[in-house]
Amino acid sequence: MATKVTMEALSPTMEEGRLVKWVKNEGDAVKTGDILAEVETDKAVMELVARADGVLRKRLANEGDSSPVGTLLGVIATADENIDALVGGGAAAPAPAAPAAPASAAGGSTAPANEAVAETKDTAGATAVPDAPAQAQGEASTPPQEKAQATAQAAPPRPAAAPPRPPAARPPQQGNGARPAAGTQSGGRQRSSPLARRLASERGIELGKIQGSGPGGRVVKRDIESAVSGAGGRSAARSAAAERLAAEGDFRDVPLTQIRKTIAKRLAESNGPIPTFFLTAELDVTRAAEMREQLAEMGDEYKASFNDIIIKATALALAEHPAVNAHWLGDKIRQFNRIHVAMAVAVEDGLITPVLFDADRMQLWEISAMARDLAGRARERKLTPEEYTGSTFSVSNLGMFGIDQFTAIINPPEAGILAVGGVEEKAVVIDGAVTVRKRMRVTMSCDHRVIDGATGAKFLQTLRRLIENPLLLVV
């Protein structure tokens, strides 16, 4: 039985799509769920998957062609089947299998379109049914006791209590954008109550990141509530801004505008896969140095290095500039609401980048202690993978080696890295008089696909304001 391959509605608003690339050739054997082609929707480049097993007998659209939803793009059939009627026939046949829309509704209205496709694949043929009691109805001959027992046995085992929250958001998986919808279920589908889905959607929480405490791992209301109240619960004294960010979820995906797409493509052609540019600023760290001394006088537990001060300032500046706290994901930019700053640590035969999670919410002394601990264990090679992945921005400091300034290489998919030089006494002119000040040069490497010159410059302005007025770091 031949099956038509049609332009499917791969996003709820998609009316037409552009066939970017055929992944399968005519004559290739395909299985249901195999990727046939990449299609650019109004939002992103998505995968068009096979809705039947067989051979891709015919490709009827060329790469680069745009066609309305429903257009016949190809035919899947057995190797020797006559498909003339289909190939010659009308083009506007409806998609043979369920389009993405219903699955997207099941996944919550804010689910990105690529998740909708993943869901379609996962749930094809298996409607989600909450665990109905396995009680046969209408069998008058079943004695009640037996039936009660049967029901009890059918009840799923209780899951363990909700585990503590993972230390931080994991970095998004790289690849074609087809991330699995969720974690723990064997079928790949996260079970959740309708209320939990609604609450998660309202609060911008990704259900897939939550461990369900209901039967069979079902995410229920209390799981959402504990995820919200537990978010970043490390510090009781969270700022209002941090509360707001947590309430809105861990990140926000920004669809690529046409201008952004063009910038990305043209600049990448010109300058390697990551079109990087550099912004250098010389900061006055006289006051920061004074603050360091004062902190040291208060006791060892308050000691902070320049690097700690820079990390704290960077984190706070990132909070004000979410466009910089972002990843380039190929089909979109992901701006993170949480701020995880990686710091490059030199080890014997290379370097490693342990992460200070939620650095914007940590006190300076907390950053110092954690940075010291992470750097020490990095050199002993005792970091766990969770401790050096998941960052949203990086800082690299070669000041201690007497380096005045340098350019650091971006750690993809991050969009920026800050290279920090050494602190040096310099003669500078202030109000017409030459004075000696402590100065430090920082150079920010920016992925131009994500960060424009002015965006990066404004970020550095904020960083300058924070470092030159270091009390802002402790208030």
Partner: protein
């Protein structure tokens, strides 16, 4: 407010309506000289005489038919069935005559009558005399089906039923007749089709009616000791059903247990659950669970009867399950 029994509340309603409207009369087995099999009509023969309080032979189909005919010519009969189990013999008059008369006569004949009597299981009356019929009766367009669970509702709903121009099925309970509660004196009307939240709570809704309201209240008391508060919604009327009250409660608590005396399949609870999934889908945090009689004819043996009936323990377990506390 006086505290009276469910039985006396019904008698008050009958007396007041018999006094109020001389078209009203009561008819049934043992209602007059014996003062009613359950003494609901106690003293009414003396007060209103044999033309208004009428003893019948053991002929359910016959006197139900007389009632239908009397209603057609403008009287307002109250037909008492000694139990609703016996009303099966008269079901043709209830379903085929009373329920359809207005419709099939093109609006020419109103049917201002009440069929009333005890419904559901009492104690060890065995399979044929321990049945709850509300899901059968509520299935029929043309009938209104009332299931008061408290003395106040018994009085207020019976008065509404007698004044209604449509055939009303009024389901009492043998085990309810002796229960006591506050009943407003004199004119007390409970509107048909309006549920009442008998207990306010926030953790789970119990939606129920009739005798099971008392079970739900007991469970609410029990769980209050654990800090769990229940919203107890007493439907009071099965047809027409107060969907808004159900939705308001479930939208508040996000979970529901539906309790009824009858069997599971196609029961009243099945309809309630259907309303909930339609009206409250995005509010639900757990599947709705039903508590009902086990799917067997009611056993006579005391221990088996207890196991077959819906009760507080089963309801409590269901509430814990929808709260994910089991």
């Amino acid at each position: 407010m006086a505290v009276v029994t469910y039985r006396d509340a019904l008698t008050q309603a009958l007396r007041e309506e018999l006094q109020r409207d001389d078209r009203v009369f009561l008819m049934g087995e043992e209602v007059a000289q014996y003062n009613g099999a359950y003494k609901v009509s106690k003293g009414l023969l003396d007060e209103f005489g044999p033309m208004r309080i009428v003893d019948t032979p053991i002929t359910e189909l016959g006197f139900a038919g007389i009632g239908v005919g009397a209603a057609m010519v403008g009287l307002r009969p109250i037909v008492e069935f000694m139990t609703w189990n016996f009303a099966l013999l008269a079901i043709d008059q209830v379903v085929n005559a009373a329920a359809k008369m207005l419709y099939m006569s093109g609006g020419q004949y109103k049917m201002p009558m009440v069929f009333r009597g005890p419904n559901g299981a009492a104690l060890q009356l065995s399979a044929q005399h321990s049945q709850a019929w509300e899901s059968w009766l509520a299935h029929i367009p043309g009938l209104k089906v009332l299931t008061p669970g408290t003395p106040a509702d018994a009085k207020g709903l019976l008065k509404s039923a007698i004044r209604d121009d449509n055939p009303v099925v009024f389901l009492e309970g043998e085990m309810l007749y002796n229960t006591k509660g506050e009943v407003p004196d004199g004119e007390h009307i409970v509107p048909i089709g309006v549920a009442e939240v008998k207990r306010e709570g926030s953790d789970c809704s119990i939606i129920t009616h009739g005798k099971m309201v008392l079970v739900a209240m007991k469970v609410a008391d029990e769980l209050a000791k654990e800090g769990i508060t229940l919203d107890v919604v007493d439907l009071r009327t099965i047809r027409p059903m107060d969907v808004e009250a159900i939705a308001a409660s479930v939208q508040k608590t996000n979970r529901a247990v539906v309790v009824e005396e009858g069997w599971e399949l196609c029961g009243v609870g099945a309809q309630v659950v259907d309303f909930i999934q339609r009206e409250c889908f995005d509010d639900l945090d757990a599947p709705v669970i039903r508590v009902h009689q086990e799917d067997v004819p009611m056993p006579y043996a005391k221990n088996l009867e207890r196991l077959a009936k819906p009760d507080a323990a089963k309801t409590l377990a269901a509430v814990k399950k929808v709260l994910y506390l089991d």
